[in-house]
Every structure is written in C-alpha cells, then in structure tokens.
Symmetry: D2
Subunit: 337 residues, 4 copies
Amino acid sequence: MTGVDRIVYRPGPGELAHTFGARLPVAHVRCGDVLEVFTQDCFGGLVRGPADLPSRVCRMPYLNPVSGPFFVEDAEPGDTLAVHIAAITPATDWGVSTTFPHFGALTSTLRTATLQPPLPERVWVYGIDQQARTVRFQATSSDHTVDLPLEPMIGTIGVAPAGFEARSTLVPDAHGGNLDTPQLRPGVTLFLGVNVHGAMLALGDGHARQGEGEACGAAVEIATVTTLLVEVVKGVTTPWPRLETDTSLMSVGCARPLEDAYRIAHHDLVGWTSTLTGLDTLDAYQLVSQAGRAPVGNVCDPNYTILAAVDKALLPAPADAYQDAHRRLRRLAAETR
Amino acid sequence: MTGVDRIVYRPGPGELAHTFGARLPVAHVRCGDVLEVFTQDCFGGLVRGPADLPSRVCRMPYLNPVSGPFFVEDAEPGDTLAVHIAAITPATDWGVSTTFPHFGALTSTLRTATLQPPLPERVWVYGIDQQARTVRFQATSSDHTVDLPLEPMIGTIGVAPAGFEARSTLVPDAHGGNLDTPQLRPGVTLFLGVNVHGAMLALGDGHARQGEGEACGAAVEIATVTTLLVEVVKGVTTPWPRLETDTSLMSVGCARPLEDAYRIAHHDLVGWTSTLTGLDTLDAYQLVSQAGRAPVGNVCDPNYTILAAVDKALLPAPADAYQDAHRRLRRLAAETR
Amino acid sequence: MTGVDRIVYRPGPGELAHTFGARLPVAHVRCGDVLEVFTQDCFGGLVRGPADLPSRVCRMPYLNPVSGPFFVEDAEPGDTLAVHIAAITPATDWGVSTTFPHFGALTSTLRTATLQPPLPERVWVYGIDQQARTVRFQATSSDHTVDLPLEPMIGTIGVAPAGFEARSTLVPDAHGGNLDTPQLRPGVTLFLGVNVHGAMLALGDGHARQGEGEACGAAVEIATVTTLLVEVVKGVTTPWPRLETDTSLMSVGCARPLEDAYRIAHHDLVGWTSTLTGLDTLDAYQLVSQAGRAPVGNVCDPNYTILAAVDKALLPAPADAYQDAHRRLRRLAAETR
Amino acid sequence: MTGVDRIVYRPGPGELAHTFGARLPVAHVRCGDVLEVFTQDCFGGLVRGPADLPSRVCRMPYLNPVSGPFFVEDAEPGDTLAVHIAAITPATDWGVSTTFPHFGALTSTLRTATLQPPLPERVWVYGIDQQARTVRFQATSSDHTVDLPLEPMIGTIGVAPAGFEARSTLVPDAHGGNLDTPQLRPGVTLFLGVNVHGAMLALGDGHARQGEGEACGAAVEIATVTTLLVEVVKGVTTPWPRLETDTSLMSVGCARPLEDAYRIAHHDLVGWTSTLTGLDTLDAYQLVSQAGRAPVGNVCDPNYTILAAVDKALLPAPADAYQDAHRRLRRLAAETR
C-alpha cells in the first residue's frame, strides 16, 4: 500500500450513472488512494425551490444519480472491498426535501397499491450552516423554524451486483446501493462483497441528515464532496454490506417485508461475530439479542433497510474484522487529511 | 401484418441468457411471425436423476436460463408487446423437481434468514406421457405413484426492464421474468410494456405442471419447444404484465410481501377494466371484489406472484383489450398451426 | 349417535355475539343433531340501501355479529369439532356490499396507515334470485348490470379460542372466526380444535358470494338460515382449521403478511397428508407443491386467509381423515334433509 | 388529586393473569396513588437454571403472567390513562434468557411456518449487580463473560382491550400488552386509551435489559417490584400507546408485517404532533421524517413493535401533551419517593 494518490473526480455532463452494474468505469483507484468525489443530490440538482415539484422537473429513471463507477485495482469476485468514509462536505448551503406522488412510508405506493389519490407534492428548502453544524427546518404552512443537527451521510453507495445484474440506483440490496441509513457517515468503514472484476464502486445521494426510516421518502438532500479511502481484502467474501466504526460492528439487511431486513442483518451479525470471536452460534445469538441495536435505515425504497449493531467492547478477543482494515484506513485517513 | 415467417431458434452453446436486459438479441422477429423456441429447463438440463443435487451440479448464477432475447421489430418504449403462446411441447419424456437449500416457501431462505440448517436436498424425477397428458409422481421414500395432469406452461418470460436495469432471470417483476404462474399456458396472450428499442423478449423455464405457489421452490421442470406469435400495440403502455384468454382478463402482480402482489394485480385489473368499459373506478372495484379470482403463482421467488382475474362476459361492452390483439393472434395461431 | 334432534335457533334481541370466547352458550347440541341457525348479515341488517353508509348506521364493535355460541356436548379441550355445512339459504332476496373508510385491500387502513383520506364510502344492493341461482350486480355510476352465480357461504364460523382469549368476530385465526373463504359452502366439513369445555361454536356473516380476497372489504352480505351437523372427534387435536369435501382436503392459514398464511396452510397440509398416508414429509411437500391449489380467502381482515388444497384421489390410501367424520356427517345430512 | 396512598400489591397463588380483559380487578387505584407491584418473570419464575428448559417446565398458556388488573377509579371508555413508571427494581440478583422452540426472530415459527426442526433450546443465566448496575452475560459454550448495563424495563403493560376482547398477555396491540420495548423504563409516562369501565391496568414481564428486537424471543427476564403512578385524562382518546419523557414524544405501533408497525407509529406521531402544535400534517410529516427516531421494540411477538420518537425541543409551542400529565406525575413521583 504505497504511493498514495489523491484522485479528485467531478462528473462531467452526461457522466452520472443510474445503475449499479452495466457501466464502464470513470476512473481507476488503488488501495490507499484518497478518492474525493463530487456527488449530485438525488434530484440531480433540479429541485431548488417550492415550485420545483420533482414529478415535474425530474424524469424517470433519471433520479438518484451516482458518481462512478470507480474501477478498484486488484478487486476480484470473492474479495471484499473496504471503503472508508473520511469526510462528507455539503457542496451547497442549502438542502431540499419533498414529498413525491405515491412514494414514501406514509402513503400508498406503486407496490402497496391502493385506489387513493397521492398525497400533495411539496418542497421544503433547508438552510445549512456548516459553522454551526445545523440544518434549518422551515415549515411551509406556518412560521415555525427549528435547527436540526447537521449530520452528513451518503445515501447511496455500492458496487456492481452479482449475476450480471444492473440495478437501479434507487434499490438497496446485497451490493449496497440506496441503503439510506444514517450510519453511512464519516468515520465508518463499509465492507462490500466484490462481484465483478474491479468492483465498480459508485456513490451519490448525500443527505445533510435524515430521520430513521426516511418516512416521507426523502432526506435533506444535498450535493456533496465526499472523501473515501479503499482497500481490497483478498479472498474474503461478504454476503451483505457490513459497517465498522471504532466501537461497533454492524450488518445491513435490505428486504421486504421489513422483518426480513431485520432477519438478514441479525443473521449476518450473529454469524460474523461468531466467526470473529469463536463464540458458538447460539451464544452469539444470545449476546446480540440482549446487547444489539437495530437502527432503521429506510422504509420507503424498493427494499427496506435495517442494521444490526453490536459494540466491539462486548465481544471476546480476537475480533479484528477483515484483517484490521478499518483501523488501517482510519489511520491513513487521519494522515492524509 | 403480412409475410408471416416461422422462426425456429435453438440456443447454441453459451447462448443462454441469465438476465433480462444487458444482452444482445439472438434473432429478429416481426409482428405475426411464428417463433418456435427451444427452452432449457431451470437447471440447464443438469439435474437428471436422484444423485444430481442441484446445489452440486448447478453453479450460481447459471440457473434458470432463458432463450433470447429476440428483437421485436417496431417495438419502442411506450408500446406494448403482445405475446401469444400457441403451444408448449415438452422436449423430453421426463421432468424433474427438487428441494434446494434455503429456497422455497416452507423453509427459511437467504432473506427470511434463520439460524436453522436447510431442509434435505432431494430430487424427484417425473415420467411424462404426452399421449395420456400425464406426469407421474413417484414418491422417493415409498412406492406411491400417482398421475397428475400434464399442463405445460412457461415459468419465465419477459422483456428488458426499464431504467437501464438488467435483472436476474430468477426475478419476476414489472418486465415479466420468472412469473411462475400456471396461467402462462397455451391459448393465452401476454401483454408486456416495452422498455427498450426492440423489446428484447426472452423465455425459458418450462413446467410440465406446478401447484399454486410452487411451494418447494421448483415445478416439474422441463425443456420445451414453445411456439409464440407476437404483435406490437403501438402507443399503449402497460405497467404490469397482463394476460388475456378467450374468456378472461388477468393482471399480474409481483412483490413482497404477498399482499402487495395481490394489491398490484387487483389495482391494475380495476383500472384496466374501468378504462376498457367505462365503469367508474368504484364500480369496477366492487365487481372485481365479488367476481374476481386471485390465482397464486409463486411464493418462493425474489418477488411473489399473484394474478387478479375476471371473466370478460361479466363486463359491459366494449371491452376489446389492446385493439383486439388477443383475438387476432389466436386466429393467426390457428391458421399457422 | 342416536336421537337426532333438529335444533332451530334464531337469536333474540341482544343475543348476537361479537366475540368468540367469553360468552355463555345460547343452546346445547349433541353429535348428530341438526342445527338450523338464523344468521344476521355483517352489518347487523342495518345497511339496506344506498343511503345506509355503514360508518353512519353501524357502531363499532357491533359489526359482524354471530349467532351462538352453541355448547357441544362431550367436546373437551384436545378434541376436534367436526362441523358439516348442510345448507345455506339466503334469508332475504337481496344482499348488500359496501366500501368502508380505511378498510379493504385497495386502500390504506388503520394498520397499513397512510396520511391519505379514505376512499369514498358507497353501497351496492344486489338482487338475489334463488330460482335462477344468481345475484345481480348493478353499477352505481352507470346502468351496467350483470348476473353472478349465487354461491352462498358462511364468512364467520369458529369456536372459543385457546388461552382464555376472547377475539372479535372480525378476526380469523386458529380458532376459525372471520375466515371469509368461499370454500365454507354447503357440502364441506370444517374441523376445528376444541379449546374449551363445550367448544362454543358460533357462526354468522353469510355471503351470497365473494371474490377471492374480498378486495373491497365486503362480500355480497346476507342474512341466512344455515343448517349444520356436528360431531366430536375425541382425543384428536387440530392446530388450524381444516376442511374436507368429497374430493379434497384443505388446511386454512390465517396471518399477516399473506405469505405466512400461505406457509401455515401448506405446512399444515403437508403434515396432515403425511400423517394420513404415510408419505414422508418431503414426499408430501413435493406432491403438494405440484398438485396443490392455494385459494385466497380474504386480504382485508385483521389476519389474511389462504387455503392449501389437495385432491384426495392423489393420495395413497389410507387417507380417512378424522375417523371418516366427513363421510358420516354427509350421509346423515342427506338422510335428515 | 388529594389523599395519595401507597398501594402495595403482591399477587397471591393463582392470582396472576394471562389475558388483558375478561379478568376481575385485584385492587382499586385512584389518580395520584402510588402503586407498587410485584411482577413475576415471563416464565412464572420456573426457569432458574440450564436444565429448566421452558418448553419442559412451562405450560401454555401459562406464560408471561401479569399482575392485576387494577381498577382505576374514574377511568371510562373515551378517556386516556396516564401511567408513570417511577421505578423498576429487580426482585432477584439473577435474570434468565432462553431460546424457545419455534419462537424468536431468527427461527421459523408457528406462523412463519417451515418444515425445519426448531433450533436447540438453551438457557442463559445472568447475574445482576444492582450496585454496579450491570447484568453479566456468561457464554454457555466458552468462558466468555461480559457485563452489560442494567437497564430495567417492563415488557408487558396494558389495559383491557376494546370490543369485549380478551387478549393473551403475549400479544402487543392498541391496548398495550406485550410491547417489549426498552423505552418502557423509569421516567416515562405511558398513555393508553381506556376501553372499559375502570381501565383494568395490568403489568408484568420485567427485563433487566433487552436488545432492540428481542431477537432470540426473550430478554434478560426478571421478577420486579415496579412503582407506578396513574392519572385519568378525561374525555381524551388515544388510539395507540404513546410515551412521553422529559424530552421526547413517542408513539407505539404494533403489527405485522414490521413496516405496518412503523406506519402506525409514524402516522400516529405525525397526527399527534400536528394536533399539539398546529403544524399542518405535511409539515409535521416532514419534520418527523428528518428528525424522527424509530427504535425497534420486538420482532418476535404475535405483533411486532416499533416506536416513532421526536424531541419535544424541536416542536413549536404549545406542545403540552395530555394536559401536562407527564410533568405532574413526574413531580409527584419525585415527592413520594
């Protein structure tokens, strides 16, 4: 892991991608490179004010664009790609959220199909104060405003799927994608199973913050400059996205119904911790049952997302996941800042 | 619709497809052409006897291959492709069914993930008697045999998906795909919305018969020679697969949980019949509620499938769906037999 | 089984029940007695015309009243109650169906809760012609009428639940209740596990007919005179409701999501047929997977209902369920008509 | 609210209840009374060591006993009962958790029915150190031990259900019951709609702690002495359980599939905050979407439980819920300690 480069990528016109898979790479990255990526917001930057109703200004399938894919050198099927999120900086001083016809958790949808008309479509514009680390909610029907913590995250990040598939960037699944979980924030390392030669990493859909479940179907959507470091863990497979922070291990489940997302995440975390620590499966199941957290990601996308999380301090040593890639990438991120 | 050709297609080595989308066409067809396609069984022909456990002889993602795609001339996004199934002939005198580890309705799966070991994997070989129109079940643990009706159907048929996606042939969704519903039998016309230039029709996964839900995860799987006729209905969109027979209209819903498949199918059928007949939405909802049937397709694939069906005789005239394409194709099928 | 009596019961004012469980019996019946019961419709007879919107004329929880409970002599916990439906006669020459605010399959509900307003509430009155065996649908927004087959069934029938529970008559579950499946028609024998001394059988909610799933939330609702014969099968437990006709065995699953109803029904049918016939579990699973039917009951009640059905002719002998109670009750019904 | 009494209740032999509803009260309480209740653990105290497999030592339906019901004076249908949890003290220095055949989130169950055998049944005994505020996990297959925070909570608390129902204490629903959510801890006020004269409050199933989702089906189960204060909020209805702390408002949703629990909770919280603050519905929807939390309660009981939570500080004034009952009860609790 020598020769650390800083690769700065800003997508040119027409370069944004709307699938994971079936796209040619826009750049190559090597282990330890610092990758600084401009990401567009989920509306492609077209929703800027109350009159910009997304169903009017956006056109399917040109929603939720991602930057990339990036070809990761030495990444082959059967490996795991470790992606450390070093920084997420809002690219503008505003963010935007909306309702969208027949999309969201508290409305019927194209799949939870009912005969009811859609909810009204509306736009909320948030002011972002990077000094104060706040985003300002402004009610549309009254003068209530309130500052919420600025907690930038990446909504969509993933690799090319297995089985020759190309999946819409709206979809979260085993390859990552539109995970829409607040845990994808600076300081975390994301582990993704590599399915194709070069992994084909892509990302977008920044959020200044989001509530758990992203109930209305959109977060506080922002363009970002996001800084990543990657490493390839050779010969280690990863069935579902996993996250590591300095203190926690997390598995991500994506499915419908929501309990299957819970089952996937917890099944994976039980197996992962059992393998890492030598606890037998039932002991790991028991420990996760009493000590685990289950943060909800999204309850609006084509698959819903829940995480299973456990504190590393509760596990017997040794518990160095992925040959300690998180610690290594974290240190490297600090050095190269 | 002149110049009817009979196009005979038998996939060569390496020609089978494992996605809808992201594949180049294997042949061109025009409206009214008779398309005679050899389709391989869902195991690619590799499971032939009790020792051929699919998890041993098959390799992911090389399951459920389809023949095609066929480029349909004049089919453009925004049109509907009408596909009439004229005949499905088993290509062999045997079929096969199996359990498969962590796949099926009565087992935990990779998504309904539990800590339990999989059910035993086992193969059942069925004898097919085309004269008698029977398939013979032979118990593996006793000498019970019984003849079931031979009712050939196509499990997987669809077009390239929208939004630049490529989907595994294991998945049923709005583009068709692995619908696994017994209604896909000779005499039916299938309507699919066209998403890409040329539609890119493909099919495979023949079944000598299947129960409703395909509980164990597999039908009586066969290779087939399947005869189709196609027509493009210009300027008419179709959100979900629809079927028409001489007596019925049917909408197909694919989703998880299963109630969403039911909702999609019934929402579509209510809207379709309302548009066709001038019944207002609530009257159509009421009529379908009292007269509708809801045959279950599969409860094992990545999306589950249910149909909503209503008899055409119950609807007020006019109710000629898709400019009468079904009647036209049916007549043509009879003429060209 | 001697001394066959005909017990005629018509509920007096205030005698209708709105729970299974927690009610004192209205009459005693013995094995082989013929029980002729008047049942009120699900609206308590209060919806008779277009102006009688159920949300206005009915009051919760006084919906879906049942007649009973009947104390069945000799029925004890651990036994099975066999209930043969000999006849269901509409008590009037009209039936009624409605939409109801936030109830039904194609609307958000109190549990699939969305922020959308309810669909409009509307009443359809059907004419019933018992000679012609038809029910006449009359559109409310146009002059379309069409005759549908009269196929009377009982929507709600059950016993007191286990575990000291009392369940609303709106709920279908292991004790029976609001199963809302068209298979509950004359000629069928229903098997229910007995949970309390005397079983406490009750029934109501007749339908002149219904579509599969009861999409709008109501069938063609009627008052009936229903004729039953009962028998107690001693020392045999029944975990979920089961049905037998001259030709079929059926298990009933009630749950949400709908796939769990499917799983319950098919798990039960596989186990039942395996026990009856000596087929091993996987052989029974395979046979049901290829030969089974999965008729949908309701997709609107607090639990959804699906059946798993298999033809008796396909099973190896011996397959006499419940000591041949169905055949015995069927004969007795014929003799006592 | 004068004449504050301290009512101490310890259930005598045979006094424990296994339903909400259909039980006579064990004591009367008035607004402001301090109610100190001994609660048994969910196994009725019968599981004390590794050999006490619950399927062997417990007998259905004698699981999850509750103490009560308590008749609350002046509580009438249409009112809301406010229950402040002042203290939860473990009654012993040990707690216990187990797997249970076909129960839990990572196993097939009686409803998510599969043909697989159950997971092994096993017992974990935890040491509780009330000084150190820890519970000690001890692996059964290795010597790993770890201390987890002692965070006592009440798993089951509720009132008699509406509609003359009696529900098993295993069930969480609109009446409360087996909510199994860690938020039911000291310092919270629970609001429950009153369905019957006297409300009929009961509680039990203490947990020394639990993970989110209670994955294995059991928490660290303990007997407790729990101290409550109650108040009746006259003429105010409450559709689903709600919680208030000094800083948060929370709505509780109970349903299957899990997304319906999410929908119920968030639908209720949006409506509640909108009513409290004058924010219009879509503004409240937006604010909850960006600022809301969605802590998971259980993913193993007959209904699953998720909460929707929002910080009171984010809402425009006035936002005094339930006529400020929480603040009043909290103060009273402090005074009477």
